[in-house]
């Protein structure tokens, strides 16, 4: 094998890091020079490749699966930079392979964007896949939610070992019917929690929410109480405290447990799985807690109506200063219609102190139609954040933001406070 492409790729990676540049470019270079690089590096891992996909919760769930497997003593490769497309995986690999292109790991756990995953699984068939949900997200990219389902189907079809599915999402659970050879495992919810997680067909109130699925699940989330939860695994219920916040993250913990159990194939140390889970910290921008002026400041990423609803449900608005920042750049989704499927009544009591982002006026208009008081509207995120922090002295703060708004908020906050840096 010619080691040159790897060495060139590594050099480009170091150079682009020094310049503070994009994380995927070295991946492009190595893909061009050696199209077989990624497949070769990933094909020799003893436990194979785990692909995590779905519209919501990929980043946090991937982080959980990685930490659960590391807790069982496995050496795990992952694409931590959040470059959740093929080129990003190649770029991450360049940092971890030796000069011959060999990866020293037991298993790879990769977060992949729905559309890019389809391309990836053609190059590297995963041994395991974890398919989380199909929520109304990025319809400006995929057109229809049913089209997104078909992308996940391609991942399931390419999986050689076990496909782990969300039994409560009818579009995801429905994929089981088209999987010819792989094993299928499910994660699920207790019936009492089912109405907390409306799927996209159930956004008009819990009245029509279907009961929990009767499919047999490997891991079931039985109850949630603040940051504590109980999970049923192998007929036994385990209560645990979590550092993760938000009911959606806690449901995804059930997903991560099921995926880790699939990889470990009966050899998992369950007590250790739960102690690893309890220690998982939130991922970049997903319910992260920072400190500003001696007060907690939480960042809650919102991308679609289900996610925003769950975010509002997960975090009590009482006593908290609230800001909402909505951008409509490509990475956020250009379509603002989804804001009208979120119910903002829970913000009614305290109101929203600041509304910002490119689509600040769309958001302010939305709040007005739910009779939620809007303190100020300032589309410029830098100015809005300064004003928000000045105006909410002595109170804990919470910012709901779309993806690119979250990046802008973090950039500004890093000038004021220490913000966790993700490599």
């Amino acid at each position: 094998m010619n080691p040159l492409p790897v060495l060139v790729g590594k050099a480009v990676r170091i150079a682009s890091r020094l310049r503070g540049g994009g994380s995927a470019f070295p991946g492009l270079v190595v893909e061009r020079l050696d199209p077989g690089f990624m497949g070769r590096a990933l094909s020799t891992l003893p436990h194979g490749v785990v692909v995590v996909s779905g519209t919501n919760g990929k980043t946090t769930t991937t982080k959980m699966v990685v930490e659960l497997l590391e807790g069982q003593g496995l050496k795990v490769f992952t694409n931590r930079t959040g470059s959740n497309f093929t080129r990003g995986v190649a770029a991450s690999l360049l940092g971890d392979v030796d000069w011959r292109g060999r990866l020293d790991a037991d298993v790879a756990v990769l977060e992949l964007d729905e559309a890019h995953a389809v391309h990836f699984v053609k190059l590297v068939p995963p041994r395991y896949s974890l398919l989380l949900n199909v929520l109304r997200d990025q319809l400006d990219r995929f057109g229809e939610i049913d089209a997104t389902t078909r992308l996940l189907e391609r991942i399931a079809l390419a999986t050689t070992g076990t496909v782990v599915l969300n039994r409560e999402d009818p579009r995801v659970a429905g994929l089981a019917a088209s999987i010819p050879s792989a094993r299928v495992a499910y994660f699920g919810l207790d019936a009492s929690l089912r109405s907390t997680f409306p799927n996209d067909d159930e956004l008009r109130g819990a009245k029509g929410t279907a009961p929990a699925s009767a499919l047999p699940a490997d891991v079931v989330l039985r109850s949630v109480d603040g940051n504590a939860a109980s999970f049923e695994v192998d007929g036994a219920i385990t209560h645990t405290d979590l550092r993760l916040r938000g009911v959606y993250n806690i449901f995804n913990a059930a997903a991560a447990l099921a995926a880790a159990r699939a990889v470990l194939d009966g050899t998992a140390d369950t007590a250790r799985l739960f102690s690893s889970l309890a220690a998982v910290e939130p991922a970049f921008g997903r319910g992260e807690s920072l400190v500003v002026d001696g007060q907690a400041l939480e960042l809650v990423l919102v991308k679609n109506p289900s996610g925003f609803r769950l975010g509002l449900k997960s975090f009590d608005a009482a006593g908290c200063a609230t800001m909402v920042a909505i951008n409509d750049n490509y990475a956020d989704g250009r379509d603002m219609s989804w804001l009208w499927d979120v119910d903002f009544d829970s913000l009614g009591l305290g109101g929203v102190d600041m509304v910002s982002g490119v689509r600040a006026y769309d958001m302010a208009l939305r709040l007005t139609y739910d009779d939620v008081r809007v303190g100020a509207v300032e589309p410029d995120i830098t100015a809005a954040l300064q004003q928000f922090i000045r105006g909410s002295e002595g109170r804990p703060k919470r910012i709901f933001c779309t993806y690119t708004a979250m990046l802008a908020v973090r950039r500004e906050l890093s000038k004021i406070t220490k913000v966790e840096v993700v490599s």
Partner: protein, 256 residues
Amino acid sequence: MSDAPSATALTEAPADPSKGSLRILQLYPREMNIYGDYGNVLVLKRRLAWRGYGAEILEHNTGDEFPDDVDLIVGGGGQDSGQVVIQDDLQAIAPRLRGLAEDGTPMLLICGLYQLFGNAFHTHDGTVIPGIGVLDLETRGGTERLIGNVVATSEEFGEIHGYENHSGQTFLGNGLKPLATVVKGAGNNAQEKHEGARYRNIVASYLHGSLLPKNPAIADFLLRTAAERKFGAFDDGGVDDSLADLARRHAGARPR
């Protein structure tokens, strides 16, 4: 199914008892509500409340008995698969909908139900899904999906702002007027610069969920028409649309 009457989930009594309430019916809120269509219902309800009127929100789902005394009808968009689910029920209530439309009941029809209120939907693989023929138009499934921000102008409503996402391309019959002329975006189809359709008191459009919030002139047309039919008059004062104006201005400046 007479044991499943339409829900009257959201009823708001008039703030001013002399003003009365309008009955607003949303068609198929489960299947045809994928792009924030409920926002249109909410806007109608709140704009009535702000003016002292009451609102009764009714829902019609498949199998429900179609309610009496409807003052205003709202229909939204959905997945192609959702259109298949509602198809038979829609045909069953079609005579009622045709009667109400001809009689002048105001209706807002978005995307999927805009298509199905026409004569037929010719899908890409050659299947013909019959419409209910309220609007003289036909839709053909295309390979290209028309997605993005739209700005269109109408003599009746001024500039219209919204977002489109559809693969069906709609062609109006000779007698049917478009709602607006497209300035940015595709509209009804990739060939003509027309968006939506206007017929009697029906406004039909491809601009989904966010149509009424940012286009209060259309919301007030529907409300005025319904109120005048029911009460003989409409008090349209007292609503501050300055945030909607700012949202429109920012939306108009965004890329396609």
